[in-house]
């Protein structure tokens, strides 16, 4: 089941607290933002969770499939051991 990066919009702080208390959503608390019309926070959610939150009155923006997007990051991981030549001097 795909996992999506989502932005969840709620009417007030109580609604945002309920994301954790009642809906057990994994929110990224550092992204909690006060907007003109309420609050927004980033989170991870699958299709089922998104539907459940929408049914509970939240507005949910669905962004990237995090697994797909994250695979691109693997090309930024070093291969082998770039320090081994220097390590020979230590051992």
């Amino acid at each position: 089941m795909p996992n999506y990066h989502v932005s969840i919009h709620g009417a007030d702080r109580e609604a945002m607290a309920d994301l954790v208390r009642a809906h057990h959503v994994r929110v990224y608390d550092q992204t909690l933002t006060d907007e003109d019309t309420g609050y927004r926070v980033s989170a991870l959610a699958d299709d089922e969770t998104i539907k459940r939150l929408q049914g509970a009155g939240y507005r949910v923006e669905q962004h990237e499939d995090v697994d797909e997007a994250a695979q691109d990051s693997l090309r930024h991981v070093g291969q082998g051991n770039r320090f081994l030549d220097q390590a020979g001097d230590v051992r």
Binding site: P2, N3, H5, H24, T31, S73, L74, N81, R82
Partner: protein
């Protein structure tokens, strides 16, 4: 350039303690092997056997936050190279002079544990880039977990410390605590406090180096510097209203900003002097970060709408409240890097975007060490005055 893999972090730390640096470094082998059988190492940088004060820098706790070990390796390499060669350090627009480098290494125990969760890092860098926890296998009777997106068994090390660990008992049932008892959750607190070898290694270093008076856990993301406490608002007037007092069990974790306020008015005690010092030193760190590449980080108390339990910075600070023989360890968490449009890129930016972050956080850590040097020397002078 690319992120350091697990083997490279270990080799880099071993190299920093090589013959050329042997007179002022110590390679520390941590006693607890990880679930996958890895042995971790830390480094202590100091000119003599033991210092009067110390700074403990921790990284690599959350597997997907790839840049944290790279930051701490950069910090160690620059500090040891500069001390050996008698030079200063420049990171973007932030500079530390050769004299200041010497003051840091001559005055402080600088203890750096850059890769606390190598199993998780390896898994994140080879299988599931969003993996956060350690690699503790599922226990008998645990539910089957989904996979991908960071889902699966394992323990969030930064919810496993012995600070209000038993959150169902110690927090209000109304508190939106960012901790979970679900073994599949990426913020699972573990089967017991300090149950994980990775957690025990972090604690072991605190026990081993009692000179440490400052603790900084390096995480991502959010461009923020957080300080004690993370469980609730702070207060400076009532020492009895504190984390160890069972009278307040069931009343914690509702900050004043919660709608309707906090019905129990619980606030975590923090001595005014400690709070002042946390803000003063944190400000110096924040200013140095901004001097490097112009990016403003926010300095604030850790607690927000979603309070935390079992975290490293609050555990480190809590120790002296429970055991008066221990010195105070002020605790910080750095959340490096900005939020990006992609959540995975927020945790592991493309490496060219990571380079200035490495430099700015290194600058902040060096400035913090310098501030700790000044406090230590001021205290030394004050003590000398007392003896006259």
């Amino acid at each position: 350039m690319t992120y350091l893999n697990v083997d490279e972090v270990e080799t880099a730390i071993a190299l920093a303690t090589g013959p050329a640096n042997a007179s002022f470094t110590e390679l520390i082998t941590l006693p607890h092997q990880t679930w996958e059988g890895r042995t971790c190492h830390a480094i202590r940088v100091h000119q003599d056997a033991a210092a009067r004060s110390g700074v403990y820098l921790l990284g690599g706790v959350h597997a997907r936050e790839w840049g944290s070990p790279d930051i701490l390796v950069n910090f160690v390499q620059l500090l040891t190279d500069a001390y050996r060669s008698g030079t200063g350090i420049t990171q973007g627009g932030a500079e530390v002079s050769a004299e200041q480098v010497r003051a840091i290494v001559d005055t402080l125990d600088v203890v750096v544990f850059p890769q606390a969760n190598p199993d998780g890092r390896h898994y994140s860098m080879t299988v599931d880039p969003m993996w956060r926890k350690n690699r503790r296998p599922a226990d008998a009777g645990d539910p089957g977990c989904l996979s991908g997106g960071g889902n699966g068994p394992g323990v969030d090390i930064n919810r496993n410390y012995n600070f209000l660990w038993d959150f169902p008992t110690t927090f209000s049932t109304s508190a939106p605590v960012a901790t979970s008892a679900d073994p599949c959750s990426e913020i699972y607190y573990g089967p017991g406090a300090v149950s994980e070898p990775e957690t025990r290694n972090v604690v072991w270093l605190l026990d081993r180096y009692p000179s440490v008076g400052y603790f900084i856990d390096v995480h991502s993301f959010g461009e923020a510097i957080l300080f004690n406490w993370g469980d609730d608002d702070g207060q400076v007037t009532d020492p009895s209203m504190n984390f160890s007092n069972p009278v307040y069990d069931g009343k914690r974790g509702i900050p004043d900003g919660t709608p309707g306020g906090d019905p129990d008015k619980y606030r975590e005690y923090i001595p005014a002097d400690d709070r002042h010092t946390l803000v003063t030193l944190g400000t110096m760190m924040r200013d140095a970060i901004q001097a490097a590449h112009g990016r403003p980080y926010t300095l604030k108390q850790a607690v927000g709408l979603y309070p935390t339990s079992g975290t490293s910075d609050d555990y480190a600070y809590s120790r002296s409240f429970l055991d008066s023989s221990k010195d105070t360890v002020l605790g910080y968490t750095i959340e490096w890097g900005p939020q990006q449009s992609s959540i995975s890129k927020s945790f592991h930016p493309d490496y060219p975007d990571m380079v200035p972050i490495i430099e700015e956080v290194t600058a902040g850590l060096l400035a913090f060490c310098l501030a700790a040097v000044r406090r230590t020397l001021d205290a030394t002078l004050a003590d000398a005055g007392t003896n006259w």
